[in-house]
């Protein structure tokens, strides 16, 4: 195990912690921007440090295609290759294959897929995924799991869960750098509480450095989503970090953190920036909208980032979707927003004012008090009273 997880404060199920990784001491709740190909689109590493980014997620599948893990290894690992002194996490590559390549097929041996280079069938085994990640050298590496869409039901979910458990042992056995890299196991089991429970128990028995909740953020309804998160966080060990994969939206992160999750990753902030959308306390702001042309306010008047301090919505409107600078500046703001959200969650938990923070957050996002029911339900389980920001008759729409 190459990490320490020190809880600094709690509020019911929520926790604020210090996650000590080989390359950086991170504060949780923690948002991890996605740097698919060894860079976060449009930002330099010094800008990422500047805005408080603590850990970056790299995608194993893409890095293995180019420049290859072998080259990264030869040049001293991904930290050195991209000159990023802080923490890194790599995924297993399996999810990317299943989601990007239609021809991926999962067997007991591994994930079979058609090579995007020459079309030949290739196989990614749990052993291979770990070997590749060992070469890339991230602080946290992920076990290869059998990913199925959460919207699928039936025996395939059960098969995937058990296979994920069988594969974790192969991953553990293949892991050559346990003193420098932390292998996280991934809880599968779809939306079935029984299967999730079996998976959590199985993984916890392996005493891994951390655990991820997988198979979510794939189009399932929000009520099922938070219930799975709540179930898993309740069953996972207190003294280990919990990572909800592929999440998410600011609201999801607030809810999951209240339920006791610690880590998140999502391409949304940077992807949506490239389409001209800014994340703001009220939700989103489409800078492409023609009303922005003569709006001389900052993108988010409450934001302290370089972009909001300097630019008006009208100027950003001029840039978005036409000039590279538009997506650079909006990505900067959006990541700043997400990292600030993480820091605010961290400090409000430590200072014992998480309910006030959550209420303030919800009030801005739902000024009419129409907080979605799933959020209300999740907050009840989290023991956070949000009645002050809910309308007397909460609407039942999602």
């Amino acid at each position: 195990m190459a990490l320490q997880f020190e809880i600094l404060g709690r509020f019911n199920r929520a926790r604020a912690a210090q996650l000590i990784l080989p390359h950086f001491i991170c504060q949780t709740p923690l948002f991890m921007p996605v740097g698919t190909k060894g860079t976060i689109k449009g930002l330099t590493t010094s800008q990422l440090e500047e805005i408080g980014c603590q850990i970056i997620l790299g995608n194993t599948y893409h890095l293995e295609l180019q420049p290859t893990s072998q080259l990264i290894d030869e040049l001293g690992g991904l930290h050195k290759f991209m000159n990023w002194p802080r923490a890194l996490l790599t995924d297993s590559g399996g999810f990317q294959m299943v989601s990007l390549l239609h021809l991926a097929d999962i067997t007991e041996n591994g994930v079979t897929f058609q090579s995007p280079v020459d079309g030949k069938p290739m196989l990614l085994t749990p052993e291979e995924s770990i070997q590749i990640q060992n070469r890339i050298g991230a602080d946290i590496i992920m076990a290869l799991d059998d990913v199925v869409k959460t919207t699928i039901t039936g025996p395939r979910i059960e098969e995937a869960m058990y296979r994920t458990l069988r594969w974790i042992d192969r991953c553990i056995a293949a892991h050559k750098r346990p003193n420098e890299q932390n292998l996280f196991g991934i809880v599968q089991g779809g939306l079935d509480p029984v299967l999730r429970d079996i998976c959590v128990k199985g993984l916890v028995e392996r005493n891994l450095p951390g655990y991820a909740i997988g198979g979510l953020a794939g189009g399932e309804d929000k009520d099922s989503f938070w219930r799975v998160v709540a179930q898993c966080t309740a069953a996972l060990p207190e003294d280990k970090p919990r990572y909800v994969m592929g999440v998410g939206y600011p609201l999801d992160i607030v809810v999951c953190s209240a339920l006791g999750a610690d880590m998140y990753d999502c391409v949304y902030p940077t992807r949506t920036a490239r389409f001209g959308t800014a994340l703001v306390p009220e939700g989103i702001l489409k800078l492409t909208h023609s009303a922005m042309a003569d709006d001389t306010r900052p993108v988010d008047p409450t934001c302290a980032c370089m972009v909001c301090k300097r630019y008006t919505r009208s100027y950003i409107h001029c840039l978005v979707t036409k000039d590279a600078m538009g997506s650079q500046l909006l990505s900067y703001h959006n990541l700043f927003y997400m990292l600030k959200l993480s820091r605010d969650l961290h400090s409000s938990i430590i200072e014992g004012r998480l309910p006030e923070y959550v209420c303030g957050f919800l009030q801005k996002m739902f000024p009419k008090g129409d907080v979605p029911e799933w959020v209300c339900n999740a907050m009840e389980v989290a023991g956070i009273d949000i009645s002050s920001c809910c309308a007397p008759f909460p609407s039942s729409q999602d």
Binding site: G38, T39, K41, Q47, L71, F81, H317, C318, M325
Partner: protein
């Protein structure tokens, strides 16, 4: 704005100082004076910001050398109105760059280009991202008034080298008339750079320059170059212009980008150049590598690559840099070279990542500013001609070694 020539190097090449006094009446937080030594580079921009270098990264470029930005008002034809720009308080305020100085030039040489056939007596025509447009002096001046640049160039009828003598003459007539129109229309004053055209006719060039010299302007903008004339055609045309202009006013040019072209312009007494060349290098994946120290004969180990690299630049798209674990230029003090290797930039280019362009624009701009610094030193030392000869010879030599190495 004040300008003073401080040194001549035998011929026409000159070194000067461009001084911007505190930026107008506006309550700008940085009213400091800026002194920029010439010959200097005006960094080309898209909508007032460098193409890929975001404002927080700008301070990593040498200061104050990098504090002159050139922009095209035509970039703002869509998306924002002059009224909104006025409400915001002008360009400095809109861009949050109070410590920078802005020079407006109608065309940008990249996406806004003069369209000679479309230009008529009413206004100048341009090919732009919003289609072909005709700009009248009154429309142009509305933008200038709202943006409040530190200097601005009057509207010109630029023609390519191959037009008839008659068309060329018309272009000078129009440009002179628009010069008067723009001066008359400019309510806020500012530093006016009078446009000079004249195509490839020495007489028309001289006439255009003489007319501009008669007007009350702060400097001159020489247009109509880089439009089909050959390098050898240029010196007499350039000299006809600069010889007709008063010595103590700055001369800005458009259309000369390559190092050899810059040296050619300086040799004729031009003071200010733009960086469209840097843009083309950067988007092509090129990095400037020629040695900057005067008389340094560093002709060793050219990298083997047949992808357009030569003695002055390398193409980082090339496979040879895949494992190249060192910076673009050893000892370069730019952000890119201080932080990243050629191997990383090669990777970023091969997967089409925006960071490649950011890093290359930083290095190339830094490098080219260094080239200008070296030129100024040579002029001050009275050795510009030697510097120029040396540069051209070195390059020839490097090209030679390079070709030999390639064919070996």
């Amino acid at each position: 704005m004040k300008f003073a020539v401080k040194a001549w190097s035998k011929g026409r090449a000159r070194a000067g100082v461009l001084q911007f006094v505190s930026s107008s009446k506006s309550s700008s937080p940085c009213p400091t004076e800026i002194e920029i030594e010439t010959p200097a580079l005006l960094l080309s921009t898209r909508k007032g910001l460098p193409f890929f270098i975001s404002p927080d990264l700008l301070p990593s470029l040498p200061s104050p050398d990098s504090h002159l930005l050139q922009f095209s008002p035509l970039h703002f034809l869509e998306g924002i109105t002059p009224e909104t720009i006025t409400t915001i308080g002008g360009l400095h305020e809109m861009l949050g760059l109070h410590e920078f100085r802005f020079a407006a030039v109608p065309r940008d040489s990249i996406v806004c280009l003069p369209h000679c056939e479309g230009t008529n007596k009413l206004g100048a025509s341009f090919e732009t991202p919003f289609g072909r447009i005709l700009i009248k002096p009154s429309e142009y001046m509305k933008f200038i008034d709202s943006m409040k640049p530190n200097s601005w160039t009057t509207l010109a009828d630029e023609v390519p080298a191959w037009v008839s003598q008659k068309r060329n003459k018309t272009s000078v007539d129009r440009t002179v008339r628009w010069l008067d129109d723009c001066i008359a229309l400019s309510s806020k004053g500012g530093n006016i750079f009078g446009a000079i055209v004249g195509g490839s006719s020495v007489e028309e060039r001289r006439r255009s320059a003489q007319e501009a010299a008669k007007r009350n302007v702060s400097g001159y903008w020489i247009g109509g170059f880089g439009l089909g004339e050959s390098m050898d055609d240029r010196p007499p045309l350039l000299n006809a212009v600069t010889d007709s202009l008063p010595e103590q006013k700055p001369r800005q040019i458009c259309g000369l980008g390559l190092p050899e072209e810059v040296l050619q312009g300086i040799d004729s007494g031009v003071d200010l150049f733009d960086t469209t060349y840097i843009y083309h290098l950067t988007t092509g994946g090129f990095a400037l590598t020629f040695p900057l120290e005067r008389f340094v004969r560093n002709v060793s180990d050219p990298q083997l690559s047949n992808m357009g690299s030569d003695g002055t630049k390398i193409n980082l798209n090339s496979e040879v840099y895949r494992k190249d674990d060192v910076p673009i230029v050893d000892g370069c003090r730019c952000y890119t070279c201080q932080n990243h290797t050629k191997a990383y930039i090669n990777h970023l280019l091969s997967v089409n990542e925006m960071l490649a362009l950011i890093l290359l624009e930083i290095h190339n701009t830094h490098h080219y500013l260094g080239f200008f610094r070296a030129i100024r030193e040579a002029i001050k030392g009275g050795k510009f001609e030697e510097f120029r000869q040396q540069f051209i010879e070195d390059r020839r030599e490097r090209d030679h070694i390079f070709t030999a190495a390639l064919s070996a």
